[in-house]
C-alpha cells in the first residue's frame, strides 16, 4: 500500500466514520482506523483481500464500531410529522430494495459511493471516469430518477403514507 493510498484510505474512513458514528471522537476513530488498516495489511499479505482497500478497511471498521456501540448509532433520518408508521416504512423499504436490483450496477455503485461512503463529487468523477463534476452530478440525478420511476407515487398512497 503506497503512502498516497494509505492517506486516501484514512480520509475516506474518517469521512465515513464522521457521518455514521459521529459520537466517537477523532482519537477513537483513529484507533479503530489503525486496527482496521492493520488487519487489512495482514490479510493483504496473505492474499486474502479481493476488494478495494478502503472498502475492506471500512468493513472491518464497521464491525468494530458496531460491536462497540450499536445502541448509540446515529441513523440518518428526517423528522416526519406525523411520524411514519414502522410497518409501512418496512414494507416500502422492501419494495425499494427489489427496485434497487432493477437499476444497472454502475448506477447502484454511484449511489452507494455518494450516500454511503460520502465520496465528494471530485472523487466520484475520478472513480467513475466522468468528464467533469457537472457530468457526474447529472449521472447521479439520472440514477436517482430511475430508481424513483420504479417507485411510483401510487404505491406510497396505497400504503397509506400520504
Amino acid at each position: 500500500m503506497s503512502d498516497k493510498e494509505f492517506l486516501d484510505c484514512r480520509d475516506k474512513f474518517f469521512r465515513w466514520a464522521r457521518s455514521n458514528w459521529s459520537f466517537f471522537d477523532e482519537n477513537d476513530v483513529e484507533e479503530v482506523f489503525l486496527d482496521a488498516v492493520s488487519i487489512y495489511i495482514e490479510k493483504d499479505r496473505q492474499h486474502k483481500v479481493n476488494t478495494d482497500s478502503y472498502k475492506y478497511i471500512i468493513g472491518v471498521g464497521y464491525r468494530k464500531f458496531h460491536k462497540l456501540y450499536e445502541a448509540k448509532r446515529k441513523v440518518v433520518e428526517l423528522k416526519f410529522d406525523p411520524p411514519i408508521d414502522e410497518d409501512s416504512y418496512f414494507r416500502l423499504k422492501e419494495l425499494l430494495r427489489k427496485n434497487l436490483n432493477k437499476i444497472n450496477e454502475k448506477c447502484r455503485a454511484l449511489l452507494i459511493a455518494k450516500y454511503f461512503y460520502r465520496h465528494s463529487a471530485k472523487e466520484l468523477m475520478e472513480e467513475f471516469g466522468a468528464a467533469s463534476v457537472g457530468v457526474i452530478r447529472q449521472q447521479q440525478k439520472r440514477c436517482r430518477d430511475r430508481l424513483r420511476d420504479f417507485f411510483k407515487n401510487e404505491e406510497l398512497e396505497e400504503l397509506g403514507f400520504l
Binding site: 494509505f6 464491525r63 440518518v76
Partner: protein, 279 residues
Amino acid sequence: MESNHRNLDKLDRYFEGSLEDVEIQALNEHLKDKTFRKDALFFDLMVNTLKEEEEAQLEEMVRDVDADKINSEIRSEMAARLKKLQAQEVPKKREQSTPKEAKVRNLRPMRRVLAIAASLLVLVIAGTFWWNSRSYNPSELIRQNYYAADVPGTLSGGAVEDEVFQTALTAFAATKDLGVARAGFEQITPTNSKYGEAQYFLGQINLQEEKFEAAIRSYENALAAESLPNYLNQSKLNWNLLLARLGAGEDISSDLNRLIEEGNPPYDQKAENLKKRLK
C-alpha cells in the same frame, strides 16, 4: 407531482451530510408540504436501503475476520506510518501557502538573460490577454458578469432583534469587512424574518470568495425563504445563482438557452454573451 429541483437538491445535500444545522431546521419545517414529504420519504428510504445493502456486503466481506485479533507488530508499524505521514502533511500545506524566499544575485552578468526574459514576459502577457479575451475561465467570467449586491436604502433603524443583521449589513455594505458580515449573517436562523435576506448576502459573499457550492446553497435558501424584501431583485439573484452553478462546474447551457429564448433584457443578452464565451 415532484418538488421543484431546489428542494430536491436540498434533500440531496441533507443526505450527503452537507447541510448546516439552520438549513436542516428549515428542511424539517418544509416537511409539512405534501409533495415535499413524498420526495423526502423517497430519499430517506433510498439512502437507508442503500446503506443497509452495503453494510450487509461489508459484513459478508469481513465475515471471517476477527476484528479483535490484531497483529501488534503491524499495528505499531501503521501507527508510526500514520504519524510520519501526518507530520509531513502539515509542512507541505505550509509550504504551499508561504512564498519562497528569492535568491539575491548580481544583475550585471545576467543582463542578456534578463532582456530575453523580459521579451518573453511581454509575449506571455500579450498572449494571456488574447487568450482571456477568447477562452473560458469560470472565475474570470463570473467576476465580469455577476451583479453586485442590492442593499436597502438605509443601513440603520432596524428593530432591536435585528441588531445582528444590521451589524452584518453595515460590515458588508459600508466597511466591506466580509468576515464580520459573514459571521453576522450566519447567526440569522430560519425563524427570523431576515433569514432570506441574510442568505442572499451570504450568497454574495460566497460568490465573491469563489465558494461556489456554498453560494448555491445560500442563494437557494434565500429563494426558498417565505418572503424577500422588494429591494432585492430576484432576477439578479437568479442570475448570480446561475453563475455560482457555473463556478461549481455545472453545465448551465440549457439555462442560458432558456434565458435567450425568453428574451427578457438584459438577461437574454447577458446569456448570449456568456454562451459565446463558454464555447
